[in-house]
């Protein structure tokens, strides 16, 4: 029992601390990119306590439930959304010494559990009884269902090369520095098709975690927040938390699949479980940084463009890539 609680608490702590840092970081990055400073006042040094102040503010907010909303679904949706992204952390190997659950179908479990996110978004959109929310929820459902296909296809490419669905095994086989004599044995350096796979995977996870340029479900300027329109206070904060957790989850998955997970880039130097955790989070947070960087660079796509990119470009490309990777594996 105690072991279960500890195993449950570790990813939760990581998510919560990460969310506080990432929300502050996102605002700082936005500020710096726009030649501003971002939050500077709360807490002294560069406004580091801004997220805590925001959290305190959100706790004090009124919890509004619209009269015509479906009460149970409305209240339940944000928690289900967070639960879905939190549950997926169970199979992420944070370091060589720690993984929540050592199951053999880790990748499959992760993809299955994150699909619940779509359901909770539709739940929130439908239960709000508001046209903006419904439109946002529908857009989100269409987007997530579509982009799950290229994500799965690229993950399958990696699984094909690695030969395992267990993320710990996938990470372990990326240890060492033998590629071309000096590069780490990370899967992205293993064959050229995996680079293409990573690009497709990255574009898809941008769409999966509702980041710009694919943030159509919430699109502030068009749908006034999409499925979040009717939410306030802590329920809204749960949505934001789930979104940031999802972002971290998919970035960490990307780091595990393509960038060697907790393996140090210098072979045995700076290895070990603690350094492993450091390297893993560093890789994940770098991907998160690139996502934020893209957010403050690119404008939002239209819905038809979004669908065009997914169905006409990414899905054919990812399947061709899968076949070519299989051929590469047979030949070499």
């Amino acid at each position: 029992m105690a072991a279960i609680l500890i195993h449950a608490a570790i990813p939760l702590t990581i998510i919560l601390v990460y969310a506080l840092v990432a929300i502050w970081g996102e605002r700082k990055i936005a500020g710096f990119i726009q030649d501003r400073l971002g939050p500077m006042r709360v807490g002294g040094w560069h406004g580091w306590a801004q997220s805590i102040a925001d959290l305190l503010k959100l706790i004090q907010k009124e919890d509004i439930i619209p009269t015509n909303a479906s009460r149970f679904l409305f209240k339940f949706a944000p928690f289900m959304m967070f639960a879905a992204s939190y549950a997926a952390f169970a199979v992420i190997p944070f370091s060589s010494a720690y993984i929540g659950s050592m199951i053999n179908i880790g990748v499959f479990y992760l993809l299955a559990v994150t699909s619940i996110l779509t359901l909770s978004v539709i739940m929130a959109g439908w239960a709000s009884n508001n046209k903006w929310s419904l439109l946002g929820g529908m857009r989100s459902a269409a987007q997530m269902v579509s982009y799950e296909v290229p994500t799965i296809a690229t993950v399958l490419t990696v699984v094909l090369v690695a030969g395992s669905l267990n993320l710990m095994t996938v990470t372990e086989m990326q240890a060492g520095n033998d590629t071309l004599g000096f590069l780490p044995n990370w899967l992205i350096f293993q064959n050229p098709f995996l680079i293409v796979a990573f690009i497709i995977f990255f574009i898809s996870i941008l769409a999966e975690s509702h980041r710009v340029p694919f943030d159509l479900p919430e699109s502030e300027s068009e749908l006034v927040g999409g499925y979040q329109t009717e939410y306030s206070g802590m329920r809204w904060a749960m949505f934001m938390l789930a979104e940031y957790a999802d972002m971290l989850l998919l970035s960490l998955l990307g780091a595990t699949l393509f960038f060697g997970g907790w393996n140090s880039p210098f072979g045995d130097f700076m290895g070990g479980p603690a350094w492993g955790f450091f390297w893993f989070m560093l890789k994940g947070l770098l991907l998160v940084f690139v996502m934020m960087w893209i957010r403050w660079t690119l404008p939002r796509y239209r819905v038809d463009q979004l669908m065009h990119i997914c169905w006409n470009i990414l899905i054919p490309l990812s399947f061709i890539n899968l076949v070519l990777t299989a051929l590469w594996e047979v030949i070499f």
């Binding site: 500020g31 710096f32 400073l37 690119l298």
Partner: protein
């Protein structure tokens, strides 16, 4: 197919160009001025708030007349003979008590037209821009340095002097009138005398 590859290449190229621009700005300097702690230095000749060096003012009213929105309100009282108000720093003699010199900065439109006519350069703009108020009446700046009792005293004195001058003038007028009347009378007398003389002379013939 070739076109699709070309399009994709252009797309990626534009995305990376954009990301290059944003990362340059990310590491570049920020333009934010953290206002209460840091302040921008105002350019030379900035028009922020009117100020009157009341010691140099001669009460000529030129600024009030130049003001297009009538935001300058001046009341002057002529100095009595027994006081010498001295000279301004530019050497002009001061002849008026400035019992009121109010500028309503709520009305002012910062046109600078009042500054140029001033013969002693005593009204000018100062680089002081933090003077917001909760009540509009607080934006009226009083530059006169006379105490209310002083104002009353000065006014009374001036009135008395004016009264006296009026009386003196009336006296003078009366004297003049009297003199004139006397003169006329004398002339009349003279004329009469001459007339009688002539009559006598004529009658004696």
């Amino acid at each position: 197919m070739l076109n699709a590859v070309k399009q994709s290449w252009l797309t990626f190229k534009s995305i990376f160009t954009g990301m290059g621009v944003t990362i340059r700005h990310f590491f570049g300097p920020s333009v934010t001025l953290r206002y209460p702690e840091e302040r921008m230095e105002l350019p030379k000749g900035a028009r922020a708030r009117l100020f009157v060096n009341i010691d140099d003012c001669i009460g000529c009213n030129l600024c009030a007349r130049a003001c297009p929105v009538n935001c300058i309100d001046i009341e002057t009282v002529a100095a009595t003979k027994d006081v010498d108000l001295g000279k301004t720093s530019t050497g002009n003699p001061k002849r008026f008590w400035l019992t009121r010199f109010d500028i309503d900065m709520a009305k002012c439109m910062y046109c600078d037209l009042c500054v140029h006519p001033c013969p002693t350069n005593c009204i000018y703009m100062v680089p002081e821009y933090e003077y917001s108020e909760y009540d509009r009446s607080n934006l009226v700046y009083h530059f006169s340095n006379l105490e209310p009792e002083m104002v009353a005293e000065v006014k009374e004195k001036a009135e008395q002097e004016a009264e006296q001058k009026k009386r003196e003038r009336e006296e003078m007028m009366r004297k003049k009138a009297e003199e004139k009347a006397k003169k006329e009378l004398e002339e009349k007398k003279k004329a009469d005398e001459e007339a009688t003389k002539n009559e006598k002379e004529n009658g004696g013939e």
